[in-house]
Amino acid sequence: MKKEGEVMIDHRASPGIPADMAEKFGFHPDQVKEGALFEAATMTCWHCGRVVIRNPLRERARPHCYQCNQYICDICDGVRRQPDYVHRPWKAVVDLVQSGKFTMAGTSVNPVLIPRKED
């Protein structure tokens, strides 16, 4: 099954994004300049659910969780190296909230699961 989403940014009929702003947004200026059509794959971090536009120009290795055997984002890669880290994929957080037994606080990278009071 295909594991990647896709993003399309169409500036073929638009002045596009100026080079200085494009770099602020994380694009190469050529990708979003006037007349450009930018298409790229997106990947979703298995730990926090963040969607990442796959930079075709990236040369660094992308993080991988060998417990999930899935892609994770750079931020979660840093978080998982912290001494108090608990491995809990985003899908597990979703399942716990959906069970009705927990609510989620904190952030998706550092979720805090709070037990719900019985009704």
Binding site: K3, M8, D10, F25, T44, C48
Partner: protein
């Protein structure tokens, strides 16, 4: 479950600060879970710029760090409904809105998930599709997982501009 579509028409996405409640109604799109246990898979975001002059907007999809209060029911020309006409009514339908008594607060937490949707609203088109298992997920109806907001980030250098947009999503 069935797929639904939430469409806004003619919104001026006014640039606003992250980490504070958005200042004005009808300047963003937000989608909130219909119950404490509802899961919504956001499958597509599409934006069509309608500005009449060059306008670089720093649009983002972000989680809401503080939820809105009293969302206003959608009214024309905006819409939200199932994409299959035979879809059964949900006991707790998701809550799509563009206005509320107090607007939602887009998260400015560094480690909170965000999706960069920056584009020129003068003729630009942006579309993001998720593949299966790679969707943006909204879970429950409390911050930060229970609500996501499409808005224009002033701190990222966004300028205010007119656009139409839609979300496609699947509630469970």
């Amino acid at each position: 479950m069935a797929k639904w579509s939430f469409k806004s028409a003619g919104l001026t996405f006014t640039a606003a600060n992250a980490g504070a409640a958005i200042g004005s109604a009808s300047t963003y799109m937000a989608l909130k879970g219909g119950s404490t246990t509802q899961v919504i898979d956001l499958l597509e975001v599409s934006i069509s710029g309608k500005a009449t002059a060059s306008t670089v907007a720093a649009l983002e999809l972000a989680r809401a760090s503080t939820l809105e209060t009293t969302p206003t029911a959608l009214a024309a020309p905006h819409s939200a409904g199932p994409m299959h006409p035979a879809t059964a009514a949900l006991a707790a339908p998701p809550v799509p809105f563009v206005a509320a008594a107090t607007q939602p607060t887009p998260s400015n937490v560094v480690t909170d998930a965000k999706l960069n949707l920056a584009m020129n609203l003068f003729g630009g088109i942006y579309r993001w599709n998720a593949s299966p298992t790679q969707q943006w997920t909204i879970v429950g109806n409390t911050a930060p997982g229970g609500e996501s907001v499409l808005w224009n980030n002033l701190l990222a250098g966004g300028s205010s501009g007119l656009a139409d947009a839609h979300f496609e999503y699947e509630p469970f």
